[in-house]
């Protein structure tokens, strides 16, 4: 089962994404900051990381850098969740091998799921066996 790590300090944003991914058949992990995300990722290596940039405690960029230094996490695909103002981090992230990013201002769940699906396949069974 593909696991997606959702990292965002705003639960109001993070939670519906996580819920949607679960509905789509992914296992989700949630973290409110970079440090928590690193801890989680080391415990359970995710297949994809959705990473917010502006966060307290440890921002997304630091988190990404640390992940790339960790041999076990270096090749985990990362999708950046960014506001328009975080563009410079996108560029920095690109250097660190980040392939994709999503602008929060143009957010769309479908778009998100499509991008996640590029890196990790969901568990179709869940959809099929969805609970009521």
């Amino acid at each position: 089962v593909s696991t997606v790590l959702v990292v965002d300090d705003m639960p109001i944003f993070r939670d519906p994404i996580a819920a949607s991914l679960r509905l789509a058949g992914y296992e989700t992990l949630c973290a409110a900051d970079g440090a928590a995300a690193l801890t989680l990722a080391r415990v359970r290596r995710p297949d994809v990381v959705l990473l917010d940039v502006s966060m307290p405690v440890m921002d997304g960029f630091t988190c990404l850098r640390d992940m790339r230094r960790d041999p076990r996490l270096a090749d985990v695909p990362v999708i950046l969740l960014t506001a328009a103002s975080d563009r410079k981090f996108v560029i920095e992230a690109g250097k660190l091998g980040v392939k994709d990013y999503l602008l929060k201002s143009r957010f769309s769940l479908e778009d998100l799921l499509a991008r996640v699906r590029k890196y990790a396949q969901p568990r179709p069974a869940l959809r099929n066996t969805g609970t009521g």
């Binding site: 109001i12 519906p16 996580a18 989700t28 502006s54 966060m55 506001a83 103002s85 769940l109 969805g130």
Partner: protein, 1049 residues
């Protein structure tokens, strides 16, 4: 006519020709005669003589008679030569003989000419009588030298001619030449002194009108001289007989005896001058010649007859020459001495004469001086009596009057004799002339006399005469008489009654009346003129003084000054028109700047006259002359104006004075007289000159003022320019300031927009995520569905609050906030403020306490605003506090402020939270400070609007807010609010609090959303209450995030 022509011809042609021919012939004959002695002692060949007095004749002829004398000499010599040739046996003179004669004669003439020229040159006779050279020693030596030089040349020519002509052998050339030279030179020396004309102006001639005694003395002297001359002559002849052993005794004689002649010659020279010396030498040489020819005397030499004779003659000539030279030199010395003495004597006499003249002059001056001193003393006395010049003039007049009286008493022009009974009035003297009648025309009657008396004087005079007849008193009257043909005469008439026997008549019985009339017309007229002049001068002076005074007052005002001058001139000179004209810069025309006419009195200006039309007038002006034209139509300077100007205006006389400024003629003052012609007097001219100076002064002042004005204007323009530049500079600075302010505002606005984007757009993204999730079909099946729905609602509320806060901050910032000012209970307000926060606080581990003292404290202000203030502060504290407590304390205090008791509220909100870094504390109150300063530090996230709004509220209540915070130590916000204000303190100015936010707020309002704005505004603070819950759950989620996830997992 014919006679005149003849006379003319005689004068111009015939007489000079005859004179020249006569002179030539006379000289020729004289020369021929003078040559005879020479020929007599000529050398055997007959061509050359050791004695040649003719040379002297030739010199005299040339010296005194000029070219015709020269011609005569030449002719004479030709004749002599021809005569010699003839005697030598040539019956018919050949052409060669003629040529030879001519050549020799030319030599002789050349000798005379050269001699004359040399004399004139060497003896410096150019400026004197050429014959005077023998009167000076230097002249004598010059004479001898010239004679020798001339003789040498003549002898040269003559001898060469002779040799060429074959008359003399070339071998004899030297001897012949010597003989010739000596002969000619001695001839000149002998003859010239004898024949030289007498010196003119000699002392003997001056005695023509001398006194008789002097004449007698002179006669006696002449007689003595004659006796002496006779004695000298006798002694000379006697000496000759002794020395030369005459008559021819044949003995050779003793040469030393010849020296005996020296004293005789010296005597002659001393006593009788050069002429006497010449005569003596002539006598001596004649005697010597006779003796020598007869073979006796000291000069006779033995040998062949011919050569011996010749040598003797040469020796003789040398002796004669030496004697002659000695005598002449001596005579000249004497003459010089006499001349010098004469000069000294003349100078002496001249000096004496001058001294005498000077003495008489001095005496005369002395007399004048004495007279002057006495006169001065008189004047001084009258001066002491009176004071000023005028008094002195009066005194002079008085004196003149007195003098006149005296004169009148002694001088009488007419005498009359009136037969009182018969009526005849007999006049002695030229009565007709005095009254302008032809001789005898004036009737000799009393009536006629009475009629000529001036009507104004007549009654007075007849009354006086009557009185005199009645009383026998002397009649004495001065009266005017009317002359025939106009004019008035002044008579002084004195008369008295006389008896037929000659005695003065007794009263009342007069038969005859005799008197004398003195005509004093000239004197009276002169006096009148003097008085008139005096009066005029006084008037001119007064006018000058007055116009100068007026002028001084108005000199700054050119037209006024010129008007004053023209008016004064017109009045003083009594002329009709006075005008001032100024040249244009090129001096091609003059322009009238003021014309004053007396009748009627008015000023005009503007006329122009061109120099091209009136050349004579302008030329005269340029020469700076005052033009005083008594008759303008006749005067060449003003005649040109006659037709166009003078005649139409009736101007008859003009007095034009040039106006000079700085030595330059700049214009003219014209005084134009209308009516009978005027004779401009000197004083009127000088008055006109004086008054032009005032115009000149006014012109100068005018020019100066114009220059000053120009300068002032220039300075003003400069100042204006400087001011304009300064203003531009200020304006530019102002613009720069505004530009910088705008730049700041734009930056602030961009910041605001950024924050708005972050604070509103990010939640919008979340809302979209939630709503999309909820809309999905599967979502409703999940447990989270309801939670997400609530979250959705909460987020919308939070965003609404943010928008409210933004609008409120904008309102506060723009001063448009509306305040509901009341007195309210502080405790209730605080409770109300904490109400929305309390449940959430209760849910956390944070303790929230509130304390109000006194519990019933009341204050004046906007209750809602104060509540919002507390809410915001608590909310902020809550954000930073995760543990410990939040304490709110409000205290009502009062205090004396400037003599007034004031109430105020002190509010503390303190927490035990994380605290705020100092750099952020500094910027609290600026909108969005937290976000702007700590981007990414979401744990202190917030718009910062809360603090900004708090600050606006505090300031509206006249209070202040201080924040004391440090990381890890918690934060305390201390707020002081006045509790007794009647209304809000003027809110923070636009832009001060929120930068460009106010603009954003306005734009938002203007953007067509008034309904929302109004609704938000109406909702006011109430809507601010749910601010806190939006934050608190978030914290909760964070706290539980991992766990929740874990649960999810």
């Amino acid at each position: 006519m014919f006679r005149r022509a003849v006379s003319h011809a005689w004068d111009r042609v015939l007489r000079p020709t005859l004179l020249a021919v006569g002179v030539t012939l006379g000289v020729a004959v004289t020369y021929f005669v003078a040559a005879q002695p020479g020929l007599a002692v000529a050398l055997p060949s007959g061509n050359v003589s050791a004695v040649w007095p003719a040379a002297g004749v030739a010199l005299i002829a040339v010296l005194c008679l000029g070219r015709w004398g020269l011609a005569g000499a030449w002719l004479g010599h030709v004749l002599v030569n021809l005569y010699v040739f003839g005697r030598q046996g040539q019956q018919v003179p050949s052409t060669a003989a003629f040529a030879l004669a001519g050549a020799v004669a030319t030599g002789a003439a050349a000798e005379a000419l050269l001699n004359c020229v040399l004399l004139r040159r060497w003896a410096d006779t150019r400026h004197r009588d050429p014959t005077e050279f023998l009167q000076r020693v230097s002249g004598v030596f010059t004479f001898v030298s010239a004679a020798l030089a001339a003789a040498a040349i003549a002898a040269g020519i003559g001898t060469v001619s002779m040799c060429v002509g074959g008359k003399v052998a070339w071998s004899d050339f030297g001897f012949t030449w010597c003989t010739w030279v000596v002969g000619d030179a001695i001839g000149v020396l002998l003859v010239t002194p004898l024949l030289l004309p007498r010196r003119r102006g000699g002392p003997s001639e001056a005695s023509a009108d001398a006194p008789r005694a002097e004449l007698a003395t002179a006669r006696r002297r002449r007689r003595a001289v004659a006796w002496e001359a006779a004695a000298v002559f006798v002694s000379l002849v006697a000496l000759g007989f002794v020395v030369f052993e005459l008559p021819g005794s044949g003995s050779l004689g003793r040469p030393a005896l010849a020296f005996l002649y020296i004293p005789a010659l010296v005597w002659t020279a001393l006593r009788f001058g050069s002429r006497g010396a010449g005569a003596a030498v002539a006598v001596m040489s004649a005697l010597a010649l006779c003796a020598t020819l007869t073979g006796s005397g000291p000069f006779v030499r033995a040998g062949t007859h011919q050569s011996g004779m010749h040598e003797s003659l040469l020796l003789l000539q040398l002796f004669v020459g030496a004697g002659s030279l000695t005598a002449l030199a001596m005579a000249a010395a004497v003459a010089e001495h006499r001349d010098a003495a004469g000069v000294v004597q003349r100078m002496n006499a001249d000096l004496e004469q001058r001294i005498a003249a000077r003495t008489s002059e001095l005496e005369s001056a002395n007399r004048t001086l004495r007279h002057e001193i006495s006169r001065k003393a008189e004047i001084l006395q009258s001066y002491l009596r009176d004071m000023a010049d005028r008094k002195r003039a009066e005194s002079a007049l008085l004196q003149s009057e007195q003098r006149f009286r005296i004169a009148a008493a002694s001088a009488t022009d007419l005498i009359y004799d009136w037969d009182v009974g018969g009526g005849d009035l007999q006049w002695f003297g030229e009565i007709d002339k005095y009254l302008g009648y032809s001789p005898g025309q004036f009737p000799r009657t009393l009536k006629a006399w009475e009629e000529v008396i001036h009507p104004d004087d007549r009654s007075r005079v007849t009354a006086s005469l009557e009185h005199s007849l009645q009383t026998g008193a002397t009649f004495c009257e001065e009266y005017r008489v009317l002359r025939k043909g106009g004019g008035v005469g002044y008579w002084i008439d004195r008369g008295a009654s006389v008896q037929p026997d000659g005695g003065v008549a007794a009263a009342g019985h007069t038969l005859r009346f005799v008197g004398a009339v003195t005509d004093v017309t000239a004197r009276r007229l002169a006096e009148n003129t003097l008085r008139a002049t005096d009066e005029r001068l006084r008037r001119q002076n007064a006018a000058l003084v007055e116009v100068t005074r007026r002028h001084a007052a108005v000199v700054e005002d050119l037209p006024a000054a010129v008007n004053a001058v023209t008016e004064t001139a017109a009045r003083t000179l009594e002329v009709e028109r006075v005008s001032v004209w100024l040249f244009d810069p090129q001096k091609t025309k003059i322009r009238c700047i003021d014309l004053f006419q007396r009748t009627p009195a008015r000023h005009t200006a503007g006329l122009e006259l061109e120099a091209a039309h009136y050349p004579a007038y302008f030329k005269s002006l340029e020469q700076d002359n005052t033009i005083a034209a008594n008759d303008v139509h006749a005067d060449p300077r003003t005649r040109e104006f006659s037709q166009a100007y003078l005649t139409p205006l009736g101007i008859t006389s003009m007095l034009d004075a040039p106006i000079r400024v700085g030595g330059r003629t700049v214009g003219v003052l014209c005084n134009e007289h209308v009516g009978p012609q005027r004779q401009w007097t000197v004083d009127e001219q000088s008055f006109a000159d004086s008054i032009t100076n005032l115009v000149a002064v006014a012109l100068e002042a005018h020019e100066r003022r114009r220059a000053e004005q120009a300068l002032t204007e220039h300075q003003k323009a400069l100042l204006d320019q400087q001011h304009a530049a300064a203003e531009r500079q200020q304006h530019a600075e102002q613009l720069e300031r505004e530009r910088l302010a705008l730049k700041d505002a734009v930056a602030a606005m961009e910041q605001v927009l950024g924050v708005v984007g972050h604070e509103l757009r990010t939640p919008l993204a979340a809302l979209r995520a939630i709503s999309e999730f909820l809309l999905s079909d599967d979502a409703r099946a999940t447990r989270e569905w309801e939670v997400f729905l609530r979250n959705l609602n909460d987020e919308v509320v939070r965003m609404s609050d943010t928008v409210d806060a933004l609008l409120e901050a904008a309102r506060l910032n723009s001063g448009q906030a509306k305040w509901n000012w009341t007195e309210f209970d502080l405790g209730q307000a605080c409770d109300g403020a904490l109400e929305p926060a309390r449940p959430l606080v209760n849910a956390s581990r944070v303790a929230l306490t509130c304390r109000v003292e006194p519990p019933d404290a009341r204050m004046r202000g906007d209750a809602d605003a104060v509540r919002r203030l507390v809410t915001n502060l608590v909310t902020n504290a809550r954000k930073h506090t995760t543990d410990g407590g939040i304490e709110v304390a409000a205290q009502l205090l009062d205090e004396e402020v400037e003599g007034v008791r004031r109430r105020w509220v002190q509010l503390h909100v303190s927490d035990t939270g994380s605290g705020i870094p100092p750099e952020i504390v500094e910027r609290l109150g600026e909108a969005f400070a937290l976000n702007a300063g700590v981007v990414g530090a979401r744990h202190v996230s917030g718009t910062g609007l809360g603090i900004a709004i708090c600050k606006g509220i505090v300031e509206a209540h006249g209070g202040e807010m201080t924040i004391d915070s440090a990381p890890g130590r918690g934060t305390t916000v201390l707020v002081r609010l006045w509790a007794d204000l009647d209304g809000p303190v003027k809110g923070p100015g636009k832009g001060e609090l929120l930068g460009g936010l106010a603009l954003a707020g306005e734009e938002e309002d203007a953007a067509g959303n008034p309904g929302d704005g109004a609704a938000v505004e109406a909702a006011g603070v109430q809507t601010a209450a749910p601010v806190v819950p939006a934050v608190v759950p978030a914290t909760g989620v964070i706290a539980t995030g991992v766990i929740a996830t874990g649960e999810a997992a």
